[in-house]
């Protein structure tokens, strides 16, 4: 059995990397895929580095270990680049997405010589523009879907609206902002994805 697509998320406690991984499992499930979404628990405190994982496959997923050779790495907090080896085991034909206002070329120099594709998303700006606050996980989730192509943009947007309506049933005012964050991320990434 092929392991399908394996994704590793790096974030800091409180930024929503775990939630993003679980939401990705949720939307991928709706495309009919077999999914796994799980966090690795360390010291549970705000700001501590955390890791979360996704496996997405056509076949039933039986492996229950962490992911050491991911196809995609998503870095929700760029300050982690100085303390965590985020490209460890990342496949050369894979990709990494970093939340930063800097360009992919600038970030590539900080990735221990990683040769694969590098994308950057200014999730803080997108989030502040659309939600008025810094919640980087929605833009990073959209970026993960755009780069991995686990599903097309239209079905992703449709399924996410359903998910948000469920998740934010008690605060519906944040739904539109989150939806806008998703589409804005797709639009900003599209020119770079076409180049790849």
């Amino acid at each position: 059995m092929s392991q399908g697509l394996e994704i590793r998320w790096h974030g800091r406690g409180g930024q929503g990397a775990k939630t993003a991984a679980l939401l990705l499992a949720d939307v991928a499930f709706k495309t009919g895929a077999n999914v796994q979404g799980f966090p690795e628990y360390g010291p549970e405190r705000m700001g501590a580095p955390i890791t979360a994982y996704n496996r997405i496959s056509r076949d039933r997923i039986r492996v229950h270990s962490n992911i050491y050779t991911p196809d995609l790495v998503v870095v929700v907090d760029e300050t982690l680049l100085h303390s965590v080896d985020v490209t460890a085991g990342l496949k050369e034909d894979g990709a990494i997405i970093v939340n930063t206002p800097r360009t992919a070329t600038e970030i590539a120099g900080l990735l221990n010589g990683y040769k694969g594709r590098v994308y950057t998303v200014d999730a803080r700006r997108i989030s502040v523009d659309t939600l008025g606050k810094n919640f980087p996980n929605s833009p990073m989730l959209a970026a993960a879907v755009a780069v991995s192509r686990v599903m097309d943009k239209e079905s992703f947007i449709r399924e996410m609206r359903t998910s948000y309506e469920h998740k934010f049933s008690k605060k519906p005012e944040v739904i539109e902002g989150n939806m806008k964050a998703l589409t804005m991320t797709f639009e900003e990434l599209e020119p770079y994805l076409k180049q790849a």
């Binding site: 679980l22 966090p39 039933r60 229950h64 460890a88």
Partner: protein, 398 residues
């Protein structure tokens, strides 16, 4: 119609509890417990089930209240994890010896120290001799399916014993995966209505529960409890057959995966069995004849059945996710070795310790163990017994 969904192991068991809708659930709903009591209390608050939820001040009380409710004639359960189970110790024994068919949804997490919250089997393995039936799950689906089978096993008149439904902490409990859910009516029909034969709130037939028993009779009570545990094996299989008819999913005392012609077998429990099966397929592709025996039912211990299942292979790796500090291997390894000897199956049996306090267990670890077994059989050497897998000095993953 069964429904395809995705859920964490905690959500899956909470959903099963909602469908079974037992009468009483006392629980201590904060750390070290899991989301299970919280999710169940939400279902109750939303009017989706009518179980009486009793938030108690400790696990000592939650198990006491579970026993009290069960003795009164109510179908009862609780849920806990790790040191929460340890705090129930005294009552675990009382639940079993008073023959209370209650259920405990356990999320397996390590006991201190060092202080750690992650998965291993030290909590339930510590409780292995308390008289509870113990059933382990590989994933969220099995945790859900096992919970639905729990009451029909516990309440069978030839059993009357409490059942512990175990799933791996975090690895299963907090991981979202695909699952197939039965519809509510199927679950209700399968579990049936609880009709206790003897209970405290029955003025027509007074009974006493938990009285002092003098030496003239106490040993007979213990023997009866032991007979009930032996009886439960056949009941567990009968309930599994009935469950297969409603779900299409087959369960037994253990699962034999590609063992029919295997030279080497890994005997393992819980989520790591899935990883072992994947590694087994990879090695089979390379021509190695290996298999996995996944133990589902640890209590009652299927000693003769395991010995028979291993009788055709050359070597077995017995995988313990619990250190019991006897200087001689983990609890699973001790019991399997005893089963092999008594049944005169004298194959090479090697004890391994893995995954303590959440240490990751990978397909590469499984390759390493099978290669070691293969070399020891080919070269007729004795591999190191009771070896720790994935220790930092031997190279930690990640």
């Amino acid at each position: 119609m069964p429904k395809k969904d995705r859920m964490s192991g905690n959500e899956a068991v909470a959903y099963a509890i909602k469908q079974v809708n037992p009468d009483v659930m006392p629980a201590f709903p904060i750390t070290p417990s899991t989301e299970i009591p919280q999710l169940v209390s939400t279902y109750i608050a939303n009017g989706q089930m009518d179980t009486e939820f009793i938030p108690v001040e400790s696990e000592h009380s939650s198990m006491s209240a579970t026993i009290g409710a069960e003795a009164a004639g109510a179908r009862s359960l609780t849920a806990t994890s790790s040191c929460g189970l340890a705090l129930m110790w005294e009552e675990l024994l009382l639940a079993a010896s008073n023959r209370m068919p209650c259920v405990l949804a356990l999320v397996n997490r390590t006991l201190s120290g060092p202080i750690n919250i992650n998965c291993d089997h030290s909590d339930s393995m510590g409780a292995r001799d308390t008289g509870w039936i113990q059933i382990y799950a590989e994933d969220n689906q099995e945790a859900y399916d096992n919970f639905i089978q729990a009451y029909p096993i516990a309440e069978d008149k030839n059993v009357h014993l409490p059942v512990m439904i175990c799933q791996d902490g975090f690895i299963t409990s907090h991981a979202v995966q695909n699952i197939e859910l039965l519809d509510d009516d199927t679950v209700k029909d399968f579990v049936g209505t609880y009709e206790p034969e003897e209970y405290l709130l029955n003025p027509g037939k007074p009974v006493s529960v938990g009285p002092y028993s003098i030496s003239n009779y106490a040993m007979e009570a213990k023997k009866n409890q032991e007979i009930a545990m032996e009886n439960s094996k056949e009941v567990i299989l009968r309930v599994a057959d009935a469950f297969e008819r409603v779900s299409g999913r087959r369960y037994g005392l253990f699962e034999e995966y590609r063992t029919e012609d295997a030279d080497h077998i890994m005997l393992i429990m819980g989520s790591a069995a899935g990883t072992a099966k994947q590694a087994c397929d990879d090695l089979r592709d390379k021509g190695m004849k290996v298999g996995v025996l996944k133990l589902r039912v640890f209590r009652p211990f299927p000693a003769a059945e395991i010995a028979k299942a291993l009788s055709g292979c050359k070597s077995v790796a017995i995988m313990d996710r619990c250190e019991c500090y006897n200087g001689n291997g983990g609890p699973l390894s001790m019991e399997v070795c005893s089963a092999l000897y008594k049944n005169k199956v004298l194959i090479k049996a090697v004890s391994y310790m893995y995954g303590l306090a959440g240490r990751d267990f990978t397909v590469e670890n499984v390759y390493e163990i099978f290669n070691e077994l293969d070399a020891s059989v080919k070269n007729d050497t004795e591999p190191e017994q009771y070896r720790y897998i994935g220790l930092r000095s031997q190279g930690v993953p990640g």
